[in-house]
């Protein structure tokens, strides 16, 4: 830390974990650096494409993809909506199940003893092995995709919540213990607030997993969605379509992340760090 920052550097440090950090009120300052960076990257990409360093049969030039967006946006929109629905539904289901499971495990020794290993193992199984089964049980279309997303997404939240629910300072627990608080009160008053930083870290991870797993699942068992579009367009070597679909997926991922970050700020003001993004 430079001596220039003087005391307010210390104050900033303090705010990071225990206090509200002053919000950066200039959205421009928030948006500008990444925007400039993206513009620079696209420029580089255009140059590399034009000079043939990036072959077009791998990654088309930016203008080809832009053209694809203009020409083909109804198709992209249709598939994007399908994927978004699946990813968001899976994200919600997976995370809610994870949180509920973590809570049950944290407060019931028997449940935890009996099922914790399986909760772990389920993540270690490659979901691809599941997909045909899911397609057969749930039929083709969105349900198996949502199931795959839920399974892929639950793990970070589950693990982080198991940890977060156990993370509260022992002193707090001793206090509640002497107050003879019920399990529910311990959860509500201490463990839940203490676990929020863990939960939000997990939600950010799973926001990214949600879309990739929706895409992979669509690749296997769907007839719509960006993953399907990726497969179809790769089967017919339509690279502009393929990359347009990828870009849409990436943007949607960022959108979901942004929602998580905003939620974090709203729900958890006392530890939220400004400008996570």
């Amino acid at each position: 830390m430079s001596s220039l920052s003087l005391a307010d550097a210390g104050a900033t440090e303090r705010s990071e974990s225990a206090r509200t950090r002053p919000q950066i009120n200039v959205p421009l300052g928030l948006i500008l650096p990444p925007a400039l960076f993206v513009i620079a990257l696209v420029g580089l990409w255009a140059v590399l494409s034009a000079t043939g360093v990036i072959p077009r049969y791998i990654l088309p030039a930016p203008d080809a993809i832009l053209n694809e967006f203009i020409r083909n946006y109804p198709v992209l929109t249709k598939h994007a909506l399908a994927t978004m629905g699946e990813a968001v539904a899976g994200f919600l289901i997976g995370n809610i199940v994870a949180v509920v499971m973590a809570i049950l495990f944290s407060y019931s020794g028997l449940l935890k003893d009996a099922f914790y290993p399986f909760a772990l193992i389920s993540r270690a199984i490659p979901i691809i092995a599941f997909t045909p089964l899911l397609v057969i049980v749930l039929g083709r279309g969105q349900p198996p995709v949502i199931a795959v997303v839920s399974i892929a997404v639950y793990f970070p939240a589950f693990l982080n919540m198991m940890r977060g629910l156990a993370s509260a300072d022992v002193d707090y627990h001793e206090m509640l213990h002497t107050l003879s608080a019920s399990r529910w009160q311990r959860l509500r008053i201490v463990d839940w607030p203490a676990s929020l930083p863990y939960l939000f870290a997990a939600l950010k991870v799973s926001a990214s997993i949600a879309f990739i797993s929706a895409l992979v699942a669509e690749w296997i068992g769907a007839n719509q969605g960006l993953g399907y579009l990726v497969v179809i367009s790769s089967q017919y070597f339509k690279l502009p379509t393929l990359w347009a679909a990828i870009i849409v997926a990436a943007v949607l991922t960022l959108l979901l992340l942004a929602i998580v970050v905003i939620l974090e700020r709203l729900l958890h003001r006392w530890t939220a760090t400004a400008a996570e993004l």
Partner: protein, 281 residues
């Protein structure tokens, strides 16, 4: 009832020591071993019954005994491919986590890098591997490299997010102490931020202990001539389901073993995390 006298790991994950010292767990807390064992036996029995009843096609779900049979027929081959995948997965695990941690540290000290690179790292997570596989093969050839790349790619992000959060979780008072001691940023990192982030770091390691195998297998699934992913595709295309499930099972067991190692490492490296709570009911 008040506190139990033997230290009970505070963190939930600690008290189930993975595939580690089962014997010790059995002697100190038999339920932690017997209960899952009971669940396992019930599940296997139902599964066997279901498969035997013919309700589920053997081209979809083989019986547990058939899977066990696959090991007998094809064990050597399975283990050869599993070793290959393990090498890819572990390389990706190590490199990906180091990358994630390094990025988190960079983001911590450079706001600009965080604001520019973080969204892109996030967006990159949404790029389906199918789509970039041809590019990977083109650039990295067709050996382990592209698989390790995919694994790194999928592993670094959980570490990045958790590490970033963990590095910021240091207690304000402790940060103040280091500040008044005029610690350098590096000292602050090594002495406070990293230790404070240990619970988060281990969670990321646990997430990726499983994810690295899934990632390596998916990468092999696309184009590989070796590894469990290759076996799953090849055997799958021939409907040799017991072998497919055996390959899946090996992958699962090996990644659980890695998970168990992470758990053991955590208990070793972070003993202060085990301060015990009073047991209220």
């Amino acid at each position: 009832m008040a506190l139990q006298t033997e230290a009970i790991a505070k963190s939930g994950s600690l008290s189930w020591p993975g595939l580690g010292p089962t014997a010790r767990a059995l002697s100190s807390r038999p339920r932690a071993v017997l209960a899952p064992l009971a669940v396992l036996i019930i599940v296997l029995a139902l599964w066997q019954g279901l498969a035997a009843s013919g309700a589920i096609s053997p081209l979809i779900l083989p019986s547990p005994t058939a899977i066990a049979g696959a090991f007998a027929i094809d064990g050597g081959n399975l283990f050869y491919h599993a070793a290959y995948t393990t090498m890819e997965a572990l390389s990706g695990f190590v490199l990906g986590n180091l990358l994630g941690l390094a990025l988190a540290v960079a983001f911590l000290y450079s706001d600009l890098s965080r604001r520019t690179v973080y969204p892109l790292a996030m967006a990159a997570q949404a790029v389906p591997i199918v789509a970039i596989a041809p590019a990977l093969i083109l650039w990295f050839g067709n050996g382990m490299a592209p698989k390790v790349f995919v694994t790194v790619f999928l592993v670094f992000f959980p570490m990045l997010v958790n590490a970033l959060r963990g590095l910021r979780s240091a207690d304000a008072e402790v940060m103040e102490l280091l500040y008044t001691l005029s610690a350098s940023p590096r000292q602050e990192l090594v002495m406070v931020r990293l230790p404070a982030s240990v619970p988060f770091l281990f969670n990321a390691l646990k997430i990726s202990a499983c994810a690295c195998f899934v990632a390596a297998i998916v990468a092999e699934w696309i184009a590989a001539d070796r590894g469990l992913g290759h076996l799953i595709v090849l055997y799958g295309s021939q409907y040799r389901m017991p072998q497919v499930w055996a390959a899946v099972l090996i992958g699962t067991v090996v990644s659980m073993a890695v998970y168990g190692l992470v758990v053991l490492a955590e208990a070793r490296l972070a003993p202060w995390l085990t301060r015990q709570r009073p047991i209220s009911d």
